[in-house]
């Protein structure tokens, strides 16, 4: 096995898995069988590419091998063919004028909409997406969600069984259902990103693997849905937020807030790409939630220093965001922005009006934000209580170090 071949296979695994699998499903009309054939194709690629060199189009090579393997298995085993729980799909075959690339895009979209079907639990949708679209092994998906491998295997099996038994269709939804279904897909990718960006538990604050997968998926969605403002918005949000990744954590693992970060080290090309996408996403009226969140991230990215932050602009964007997405977490962030525009006392009042929200009960960021306003108001004793509460509610080690340091920094 040559190193070049191994690298090319790894690269094709990352880039082409969804493409190859979705093409194989078209032949097998069964997800498990298609997965088997695709795995087999990647295994063969290692030997074949070592011997004959890497083909010009690795994705096409893998697709042909996987499809041939599927056809071969189905021909040899007529009983298997009959017993396959058929996944449904549009019976319309593409016309001769239709470019193969368009059909490939459709195939991947079919797979995406099947993985993110709202009839499955969100957790199952995320797991299926990582397994089928990103090609992660069951063990890798299990690690991503900090559950045991048997637990994740059972979750994936159950989800795939439901797709087959309940006949979740393998197709791009009709136009009238499309906006809602696209939103479901974007929600899955966004959840993947937020889980990676600030890991709910564990030693490190960022899970690079999850962040990169979510970025790959957002790019794929943007390419497959070029006219969709929300897809543009989500890609922009991920690019702009992740552009600050290198400066979020200090050398000692301590979390750095926006005002402490070295802005010269932010990823400028990613910011430029994100800002251009935000402009496009904001053109839709009213703008969607991802476009608005991305626009807020863009305001921070474009401020040369923390003191230059245009908080009025941030607050105006949060005012819009609360309307399209009335979630208590958004209201909390809006209250923080309000505090920066109109002073900590006003921000604190707004935060306290959210204290009764059941969704925020046990949410560490509410206590942490209160603590910050109280600290700036010089109400040290109350700030101490609030930091202690936030520490009780936070499980991520880097975030805990940050809170503990702020707590120690309070004047006695």
């Amino acid at each position: 096995m040559s190193p070049e071949a191994a690298a090319a296979v790894a690269d094709a695994h990352r880039r082409e898995w969804a493409f190859v699998l979705s093409a194989a499903v078209r032949v097998t009309r069964d997800i498990d069988l298609a997965e088997e054939c695709v795995q087999d194709a990647y295994a063969r690629a290692l030997t074949a590419w070592s011997a004959q060199g890497v083909p010009a189009s690795p994705g096409a090579w893998l697709t042909t091998v996987a499809r041939n393997r599927a056809l071969d298995l189905l021909r040899r085993d007529a009983t298997m063919r009959r017993s396959l729980p058929l996944l449904l799909e549009d019976q319309v075959e593409p016309g001769p004028d239709e470019a193969p690339a368009a059909r490939a895009g459709d195939d991947r979209l079919r797979l995406i909409f099947t993985c993110c079907h709202p009839a499955m639990a969100l957790q199952a949708q995320v797991a299926l997406t990582l397994r089928l679209l990103c090609g992660l092994t069951t063990a890798e998906v299990a690690r991503a969600f900090l559950v045991s491998e048997p637990t994740m295997a059972a979750r994936l099996t159950r989800a795939k069984k439901k797709i087959a038994a309940a006949r979740i269709p393998y197709r791009v939804p009709p136009p009238e259902a499309l906006p809602g279904r696209i939103d479901a897909v974007l929600t899955v990718v966004h959840l993947l990103f937020t889980t990676g960006h600030t890991a709910p538990a564990g030693e490190s604050v960022v899970r690079r693997d999850l962040v990169e997968r979510s970025l790959d998926l957002a790019r794929m969605l943007r390419a497959l849905l070029p006219d969709d403002a929300d897809a543009a918005g989500l890609l922009a949000l991920i690019l702009l937020t992740d552009a600050r990744a290198a400066t979020r954590v200090a050398g000692d693992g301590r979390l750095l807030t926006l005002d402490e970060q070295d802005r010269t080290r932010w990823d400028r090309p990613a910011i430029a790409e994100g800002v251009a996408l935000v402009r496009e996403a904001l053109r839709r009226r009213p703008p969607g939630r991802f476009a608005l969140m991305a626009a807020i991230a863009a305001v921070h990215s474009e401020a040369p220093t923390w003191d230059d932050t245009d908080w009025r602009e941030v607050l105006a964007l949060y005012d819009l965001l609360v309307c399209v997405w009335p979630s208590p977490v958004v209201a909390l962030n809006r209250a923080v922005a309000l505090g920066f525009v109109h002073g900590p006392a006003r921000g604190l009042r707004e935060l306290d009006s959210l204290a009764g929200e059941p969704q925020l009960a046990g949410y560490g960021y509410l206590a942490a934000s209160r603590a910050d306003f109280l600290r700036r108001l010089g109400r040290t004793a109350e700030a101490r209580t609030a930091y202690e509460e936030a520490l009780l509610l936070t499980e991520n080690a880097a975030e805990r170090r940050f809170l503990a340091e702020r707590l120690r920094g309070l004047r006695p």
Binding site: L88, A166, R167, I168, P169, P173, A177
Partner: protein, 115 residues
Amino acid sequence: MAKYLVLIYEDEASYAAATQEDHDRVYKEHVVFAEHNGPKLLGGDALHPTGTATSIRKDSSGEFLVTDGAFVETKEAICGYYLIDAADLDEAIAVAKQVPAPYGGVEVRPVQIFD
């Protein structure tokens, strides 16, 4: 095509407290639903409340145990069902969304087919 059972789960107490006009309205809604979805409906019935139910299971010695009441006591109980024909889950959900269930909701279950 595939078959799905749409189970109607509703709060029996709310039904018991409803007026005759409420009952008439829900009945009419079911008639309208049936008219709209005629060819897809393979069957369907309203059930008497769980107070009329009898549950039967075998105990550890293999004796039948016949008891008064529903198999599982829940606030929302099955009070009716439709058996429908649909191409896939999306179509089944679209039909199920139209099933009147003012005091609860519905559950869609694919029917197993043995060849």
